[in-house]
């Protein structure tokens, strides 16, 4: 069992027992290990993705840019987003060491159904596993 699995098991057990999911509006939640503590799609987005892709998925432009996730046709299939989050590309780091497969599925489901993207098909951790290890 690698560290990630160990921590992810611990988090799953913990969330079943005591951890309460915190909505984006409350006090910000901070992780206490190398794996993000947030479990829900929107909370993961607020803690991680919006640092680059911005709060409404609008992206940002400077000397370089972060692409908009809002109304992004590339989110039509879940694979691309799963791949990007798991493996990263260019300026986007890989997050498969910091997010469990469950968390990746959650956040991908969130962005595919938010910011003007209306994809309601749901993926699960099983769909992520081929990309993340």
């Amino acid at each position: 069992m690698n560290i990630k699995r160990l921590v992810s098991t611990a988090i799953v057990m913990c969330s079943a027992m005591v951890c309460v999911s915190v909505s984006a509006k409350e006090e910000p939640m901070f992780s206490s290990s190398g794996v993000f503590v947030q479990q829900e799609g929107e909370n993961i987005y607020r803690a991680l993705c919006q640092g680059c892709h911005m709060p409404n998925g609008e992206g940002a432009v400077g000397a370089g840019q972060y692409p908009a996730l809002a109304e992004n046709p590339k989110l039509g299939t879940p694979h691309y987003a799963i791949f990007m989050v798991s493996k990263g590309l260019g300026g986007m780091p890989a997050f498969s060491q910091m997010l469990t497969d469950e968390q990746i599925a959650e956040v991908v489901n969130f962005v595919r159904a938010s910011f003007g993207n209306n994809h309601t098909d749901i993926i699960t951790a099983k769909d992520v596993t081929p990309f993340s290890n």
């Binding site: 901070f30 992780s31 993000f36 911005m54 400077g62 370089g64 493996k87 990263g88 780091p93």
Partner: protein
């Protein structure tokens, strides 16, 4: 789901088609192995062709060092820089400075006169020969950076009821207890097979000396241990209350605390004493370069396209919305890979793939100004760092102007990993609020004394999109040479083109290496 019916290989090939070949090569992010820093190389620019020109992209330390050396050798140089300021990551924020991050939030630094924060580089290890030599050559005044302070705090929310402990207590007691235990192991004969009797006797003596153990090898409250960890009541002058030795921390609590995790931090190669900082802010180095190459820099120039042919190089750039083109015979490009990967550039696939294979790490620094230097006045902490398991990770106290009366500035957070992403994702005002809230668990004075703060989350920095290029062993093997090799008339340089990522030494040594190779190429092609 379609996903289920694809095997791994099919997935990869699908990704290759959809996201580009380099996507397939993206390896997991983790720190690359940093190599030892080397003495400054001697440059040999003999035979530089008259009138040959070099276009340099980016006016960070790599770009400016390249411009300095090439212009000294007789090359015609020009630098294009996105910012209205040179230095890149070598940057200092003072009262009145503003910083607008991606997303548009603008912060104004409200520090009082003389206070500053280095949001990027802040330490210069003594063995960073290139940085040291340029500082010495240009007369950039250096002063010691206090890394290790025995009176600073180590703090864990999970240990000692969340009460911060002095470094000297943790350090002396940890050293004391492990020595005591090893002494017992020796005495109990567990090392008899490995060591001669003579070695065992010497080892036991060394442990006593190393950790102030008593004649029986015990680590306990005594004059000797108090001379390491500090007294409960300090020796008086004249008729003060009499000296009291201090009680070591509970052994089990100390082992369980994980505070030992911080002991080695000041012992690692890059943090060892003596370590320096430029007097008055890291940007003194950038300013010293600007004095020498400032006349070659065009500011507010955003490079959008890089082209080359058999005869020359050209870069398209915009200045206040106006498109311009700069041409030269050769090009040294120091634009961070996070950005360069998005700029169309005419180079071969190997270099292109290398550029796209290096993600940039997350990091946040938060500067906090307080009405007075309570850490000095109340806590007897002069410089150095306190470490904590809170999301702020560390607090660094200023290494200069000790004892001054007015406001002082702390580095109130310096974090990597998930916490850096979490801080970066917050609006700037929230970041400060959180840093003050957490810091108050170590210094309760925070609440009363806080004045203002400023934060730089490096993924929000418009001109780097991250802190530094994160190589892995795999990506180094697959791409590093392809990144550094000259492609036609273009060579890359910068922190990312070195084995010293996240250090200015990497930027400077890479620049010197790149221009030497470029010069050799120029001379050998006779162009």
């Amino acid at each position: 789901m379609i996903v289920h019916s694809m095997n791994r290989r099919q997935l990869l090939s699908w990704i290759g088609k959809t996201a580009g070949v380099s996507a397939m090569y993206q390896a997991m992010s983790s720190l690359g192995f940093a190599a030892e820093s080397r003495p400054m190389s001697h440059l040999n620019f003999s035979g530089a062709p008259k009138g040959a020109s070099v276009l340099i992209l980016g006016a960070g330390l790599a770009g400016m060092a390249a411009a300095y050396e090439l212009s000294q050798a007789g090359y015609k140089v020009k630098i294009l820089e996105y910012n209205g300021r040179a230095g890149g990551r070598c940057w200092t924020l003072r009262g009145g400075d503003t910083f607008t991050e991606l997303g548009g939030e603008k912060q104004t630094c409200e520090f009082s006169d003389g206070n500053y924060i280095n949001p990027g580089p802040w330490r210069i290890p003594h063995d960073h020969h290139h940085v040291m030599e340029y500082c010495n050559k240009f007369g950039v005044a250096l002063e010691p950076f206090c890394q290790l302070n025995y009176n600073a705090y180590l703090h864990s929310t999970q240990a000692f009821d969340g009460k911060p402990q002095r470094y000297r207590h943790v350090q002396a007691d940890y050293q004391g207890y492990i020595s005591e235990m090893l002494g017992k192991v020796v005495k109990q004969g567990a090392l008899d097979d490995e060591l001669t009797l003579e070695d065992r006797e010497r080892l036991f003596e060394s442990l006593r000396s190393f950790a102030a153990l008593d004649e029986n090898g015990a680590y306990k409250k005594s004059l000797e241990t108090s001379m390491r960890r500090g007294f409960a009541i300090d020796p008086p002058g004249g008729l003060g209350p009499s000296t009291q030795y201090s009680e070591p921390l509970d052994r089990s609590a100390l082992i369980q605390s994980e505070l030992w995790e911080h002991i080695w931090k000041g012992q690692q190669l890059r943090h060892m004493s003596t370590i320096f900082q430029p007097v008055g802010g890291m940007d003194s180095i950038a300013k010293a370069f600007v004095q020498r190459v400032g006349q070659f820099i065009e500011y507010n120039a955003k490079v959008t396209h890089i082209d080359q042919s058999d005869t020359g190089v050209s870069a398209t750039y915009t200045v206040n919305g106006e498109e311009k083109v700069a041409s030269a015979d050769w090009c040294v490009c120091t634009i961070p890979l996070s950005i360069l990967g998005q700029i169309p550039m005419k180079v071969g696939t190997a270099m292109q793939m290398a550029i796209r294979a290096v993600p940039y790490d997350a990091s946040i620094k938060i500067g906090l100004e307080f009405k007075r230097r309570f850490w000095e006045q109340d806590d007897t902490i002069y410089g150095g760092l306190s470490y904590t398991d809170l999301p702020i990770s560390q607090i660094s106290y200023p290494s200069s102007n000790f004892g001054s009366k007015g406001a002082g500035v702390l580095l109130g957070a310096y974090t990597y990993g998930p916490n850096a992403y979490e801080f970066t994702s917050l609006p700037p005002a929230q970041r400060i609020k959180q840093a003050v809230k957490y810091g108050a668990q170590i210094h309760p004075q925070y609440t009363e004394e806080f004045a203002n703060g400023i934060s730089v989350g490096w993924h929000r920095v418009p001109w780097t999109l991250g802190c530094y290029g994160m190589w892995t062993e795999e990506t180094r093997k697959a791409h590093y040479e392809n990144l550094c090799n000259i492609d036609g008339r273009i060579v890359l340089a910068g922190e990312h083109a070195s084995y010293l990522p996240a250090w200015q030494e990497g930027a400077l040594s890479s620049a010197r290496d790149a221009i030497q190779r470029l010069h050799n190429e120029i001379v050998s092609t006779g162009a």
